[in-house]
Amino acid sequence: MSRERNCPPKADILAIDDTPENLALLSQMLTEKGYKVRSVTKGSTAIRGAKAVAPDLILLDVKMPEMNGYEVCQQLKADDRTRDIPVIFISALGDVFDKVKAFQVGGVDYITKPFQVEEVLARLDTHLTIRNLQLKLEAQNSQLQQEIAEKTAAEDKFAKAFRTCPNPIAIAAYESGQLLEVNQSFLQMSGYAISEVTNKNIGQIYSKSAWAVYQQAVHKSDSQGFIHNLELEFPTKSGQIKTLLLSMEIIELGGTKCTLQILNDITERKRLENEFISLVSHELRTPMTSTIGALDLLNSGQLGTLSDRGQQILRVAIRNSERLIRLVNDILDLERMKSGKIAIQPMFCSLEPLLVQAVETMQAMAEKAQVKLLLEPCDANINLDSDRILQTLTNLLNNGIKFTEPGGTVKLTAKVQRDRCQIVIQDTGRGIPADKLESIFERFQQVDASDSRSKGGTGLGLAICRHIVERHHGKIWAASELGTGSSFYISLPLQHQTRN
């Protein structure tokens, strides 16, 4: 009893013998060794019991009235619920014929009476072990089959995605650059037939410049696992040049290292973008040219004198049309810079004259706002596009002056730190809340939404500055203390490789 409570039985044994003394002996012996034993004297009872709760092993006497052991075994083997239970025959019949028959009807072993306890236990243990191993193997087998089914389903899914994806996809061998597979969209985009691209080297299909981008993508994918949206020019079979975005991942396919190239054809998008930019540029600016010109003529006083209220209203009209043209100019500037239409053309030049020029440009505005403009220059030879950096500096000075009260100061400082130059524009204005320090460099993200109206800004100035600085491989950021002032930092490499 205490054993049953403390640890589970080693196995559930069903013992069948028509002689109660034999059964009692077997049962006692096995229970002592930690087995759970069910004892029955009749074959039919044993079959019912085994079907109800399957034992781990059956010890079966051969010679029994009504139904002998062989018949019992045959019935057990005929039923799904009991077929796999190992049956060991125990019998006084020692004839080889009896033993063979025992195996023929499905027994796994045969013990001759009178038996030795040790022999019964040893055979019992062996067959239980075999049975356990068999069960384990079956479980592993079914798990394996499930995994294979899952993998096949996943491969099917991938193959389907590969086939039906609207993006052109190509897979090439990593080492040789040989194209292994392309999808239907790739063929449609490129105009090639499948036989014209598979097994060709990717360098033969891509243009020279696209091949350079491909190699750059391979290099970057190697170091970070993937690369997204590198722009390249792809010549189709008919000679049309398409603009594509290349995303790449390094994958293994059948043990071979491959590049998975997912392409995005943005030719049409680019065309529409350019069309839109030139449309906005012309269609919006032309009426504004007339409007601003007309207001300017009215404002000259040469067409008659306006009342005070009239002049006041005219100034509102002028101020707002000027704001509109600044906004259009800034939008176009940013779009053109993003699309690479405005190239950054760096040249080695002296930094100091550029700083002086920026301050001189903003001097009139500072005087009008009664803000003191200070310059602490340093001289350095630096590789930059002076027009664009000047645009950045005047923009930041303009901001500084705008947000500084009369009597305050705006200071432009520059210093060289090893191979970089740091430029700081520091004001004594109202400051920028900490949670806005980063977002102000996004488009239309001013500290206060009313700033664009009251300060005449477009909400694009800092986005343009950031773009220019980043195109110089530099960094721009802001630090501020509310009520004390803000500092805008620009860090530029003295020398850099151009990237266009």
Binding site: T286, T289, G293
Partner: protein
């Protein structure tokens, strides 16, 4: 000093504003054309001292009109100033290659036009 000037622009309002500015500020003698073809004919017959030419026009655009003016022996020597929306460095370098007296960016201040044009003609080179 009063000058004869030809303005070629397909936008009537822009022409009118420019004309008014030139007349009011400096009493220049202004003639106008609404297309490159009409401008070339006027330039041939009226021989203005300077031509103010719009860049973006239907049919002949500014560049094509300029080419026609420069390849015509009767108009080849007349200085041409191009009017364009704010120049970008990319476009500016493209314009540098053209045979232009200068560039005036839109929108312009009408009353300052005579001075801008005179400065360009006196300077004799491309104004930024």
């Amino acid at each position: 000093m009063s000058k004869n000037i030809l303005i070629i622009d397909d936008e009537d309002d822009v022409k009118e504003i420019a004309q008014m500015g030139l007349e009011m500020a400096a009493d220049w003698n202004v003639i106008t054309a609404s297309s490159g073809q009409a401008g070339l004919e006027l330039a041939e017959t009226r021989q203005p001292e300077v031509i103010l030419l719009d860049l973006m026009m239907p049919e002949w655009d500014g560049k094509q009109t300029l080419k026609q003016l420069k390849s015509n022996q009767h108009t080849a020597t007349i200085p041409v100033i191009l009017m364009t929306a704010k120049t970008q460095s990319a476009i500016a370098s493209e314009l540098m290659e053209l045979d232009l007296a200068g560039v005036i960016t839109k929108p312009f201040r009408p009353l300052e036009l005579p001075k801008q044009i005179t400065d360009i003609l006196v300077g004799g080179k491309l104004a930024k």
